[in-house]
């Protein structure tokens, strides 16, 4: 019954045009992809060795304890939330963005930690030309989507579009170059 949403149906023309701007990019780390602490500067941890950069899982593997892979999970919407998302999309399609917004608010109350709802919210904010809030929703969705490739790539797309809409193209490209975006 529950399956992830198709990314297309809810997109307003504004969001679609934002999507059309997508482009490939370089591989700088995103704002929160900070490298782990440099060894010399870790006062409390005796004999800590240089930690590897993120995204290179093998590098960090001490012989006896390779780090576990991130938990894989796939997010779905409950029937109740999905009916609200469908309703919100219908409202957005007939141009009633305020109604769509209130309906998604209601969906968020049902499933506040489901990244798929935040992705919808982000798309709606893009359609409303509220790139700042879209960015917040995109980042929130991305954080919640950890371990769910599909949700990550949808969240990343919302975030990249939101950044681009704010003329922050460099940051947008950084997001687009993340592994989960492929």
């Amino acid at each position: 019954m529950s399956r992830p949403l198709s990314p297309r149906t809810a997109l307003s023309p504004a969001a679609l045009s934002a999507l059309a701007l997508l482009a490939g990019g370089c591989s700088l780390p995103g704002p929160y992809e900070r490298p782990p602490p440099p060894p010399a500067a870790v006062p409390g941890v005796p004999s800590a060795e240089s930690a590897p950069p993120p995204g290179s899982p093998a590098a960090g593997a001490a012989a006896e304890s390779p780090p576990p892979p991130p938990a894989v999970r796939e997010h779905h919407l409950s029937d109740a939330t999905r009916s609200l998302v469908t309703q919100a999309r219908a409202a957005a399609e007939r141009g009633d963005l305020p109604a769509a917004s209130t309906t998604l608010d209601r969906a968020l109350r049902l499933e506040p930690t489901n990244p798929l709802v935040w992705i919808e919210m982000g798309r709606l904010r893009l359609a409303e030309n509220d790139a700042h809030q879209a960015e917040g929703c995109g980042r929130k969705a991305l954080a919640l989507a950890s371990g769910d490739r599909r949700a990550q790539s949808q969240a990343g797309r919302v975030l990249a579009d939101a950044l681009r809409a704010q003329q922050r193209n460099q940051e947008a490209r950084e997001v687009e170059s993340q592994p989960y975006m492929n």
Binding site: P43, G44, P54
Partner: protein
Amino acid sequence: MALSRSKRRRIVLVGGALALALVLGLVGWVVYLDRLVTREFKGRLWSVPARVYAEPLELYAGAPVSADELEEELRRLHYRPGDPATGPGLYRRRGAEFDLHARRVRFVDELREPERLTVRVAGEAVQSLRHPDGSELPLFRLDPLLVGSVFPVHGEDRIVLAPGDVTPLLRAAIKVIEDRRFDEHHGVDPKSILRALWANLRAGRVTQGGSTLTQQLVKNYFLSDEQTLGRKLTEAVMALRLEARFTKEEILVAYLNEVYLGQDGERAVHGFGLAAEYYFAKPLDELDVAELALLVGIVKGPSHYDPRLHADRARARRNLVLDELAGAKLIDAASAARAKAEPLGLRPPGGGYVPAYMDLVRRHLKRDYAEADLEAAGLSVYTTLDPRAQAAAERALARGLRRLDAQSRVKDAHLEGAVVIAEPNTGEVVAVAGGREVGADGFNRALDARRPIGSLVKPAIYLAALESGHYTAASLLDDSPVELKLGDGSLWAPQNFTHELYGPVPMARALAESMNLATVHLGLELGLPKVIDTLRELGVENPPAPNPSLLLGAFGLTPVEVTSLYAALANGGFRARLRAVRAVLDEHGTALRRFKVEVEAAAPPAAVYQLDRMLELVATRGTGRGASARLPAGTVLAAKTGTSSDTRDSWFAGFTGSYLGVVWVGYDDNRPTGLTGAAGALPIWADAIGSLRPASFEPAIPEQVEDRWIEFATGLETRPGCSPDAVAVALPRGAELPARAGCTPSPPGSITDKIRSWFRTGAP
């Protein structure tokens, strides 16, 4: 001696002029009074307050609502048992199945027409929703509960009755008791004045009033208890003018909305609608005969007959009213006798009367809306109030403070407290309790008590450390003496609460056990400006001055501000602005300005995740460990205790997956309580949150971090079972740790699941 003609003429002329002036003056006076009272009356009559609604209860398969709770909610919304086929507002319960005929309701986003459905509940959750034709509904929301009315501009809260809301019994009873000839007189009733005069003369003192309802109404408008002749005359003229201009019906309804019925702390309780909520937590049309008779009886002297202070007097007065009602054949003798045998039935805490929450609503309306927009008549304010959470917060606070008072050696003062509960992901405030008695003194501690937060500040310091990239949960801090010469030359030498020194301790343990010295060393190493930046980042609008004592929380925040600070920690580093108002609709159902969920990145999710895992240790191994035991088994929570200097303030802030709660306990006069955060605020938090079936705190793991096992005492890496005090922490992925000899770190796998199940079984 006869006066000369001309002299006589002069006297007549002067006398005439004087008489004319007198008449003109009199007319002018009457016109003046007429204008005054008419303006007042119209102003009140037409100023329709905004109606304020709670969040509607959402029903869907899996919604955490038991059959009894559903019925309780239906009753609260004035649904009556009956045959739902006969009309909206009726329901029929068969075991755990409800047939319901929902009413026409205006929601923020739709106007829903009456609808029939069947709700099946299984145990603690809704199982299915169906239309009469058998088709399934994905979800359905009940009516939003009306929790009050507010004049958003001047802030009074009322429950204003429309003529249709006035029950026939109240209509008749108020006339029988207060003004039998209301339907005949023209505003003043000479007969009853004479009767009262006679009775007073015989008694030798004032025993009867003789004022009509209209006169009482006028008196209420201009709020004076003066008993002078001039005052009475003014009142009488105004009453006559009101009667000349308005219908009996308008005057009666205005009277019922205006009459003074008691004192709720600073707030005067005006009108039968609010009084029904204040005394009985019920809407007026649900009062039984005994309750209605009590309210009608109180009119004569709300403080003299205060049912909370003078129960016997109030009961005698109520029974007298019941006799009179029976005498006037408004009720039969049998039901009067039954009603006289009933207890007063005053409300327990909770219910639809939520003055502390309404304070927050008023402030958010002021903060977020244009005043001119709020002046429109007939607004509807939709709030994020959750009546069940509100009742839980009030109950837990009242109960907890009573227990703490009983244990305390202080006998000349009562402990006070405040509770704020919010939804962590959206910042929606679902409950506010501002003191031990609901609205007892008008001082809302949740919003206005700005008190030192003590150790509640520590997570901000540890977050700053994690964000710097130079520290992890396993980093060793130095818990050794601190002596600092301050700018003013004084010496600052803080101590641990236990007055012990712990030497090198891993950061996770220093936070869990709330060690002051280790934290001060860490904060000084990071630098005060860095810590202040982090506080600001987390939403503290007025961060403290850069004194070292800020590292131990020697600065004040209100419980609502603390909630805002912890919201970012409960929300994976995202700052969601706290809000109590979801939307305001005008009388046509159009939104004034719709709120959006506002969410903004405040702190790096990976650092916040590492911090949150440490805050989980507070609740399992540290100062907050009393909380887990009081929650449903297996509920994971993250929390922090706070105690200000000399135990003047006892704090607890904690979050599960579904609720963020902040509790403060202390004395209003700021004397020491002898209570730590764990002893005072924690049990109240656990009582409130524990009764709400909280979801476990299970944040998504950012890809840059991983869960690892370390020894709580040493910070050495280990595996469960190998060291007696192995705890799980989050570290940057791949960070290298020295390991306990002979304890090879546990192999990879779904370590998170293991950790969770381990906590659930309550191992070490």
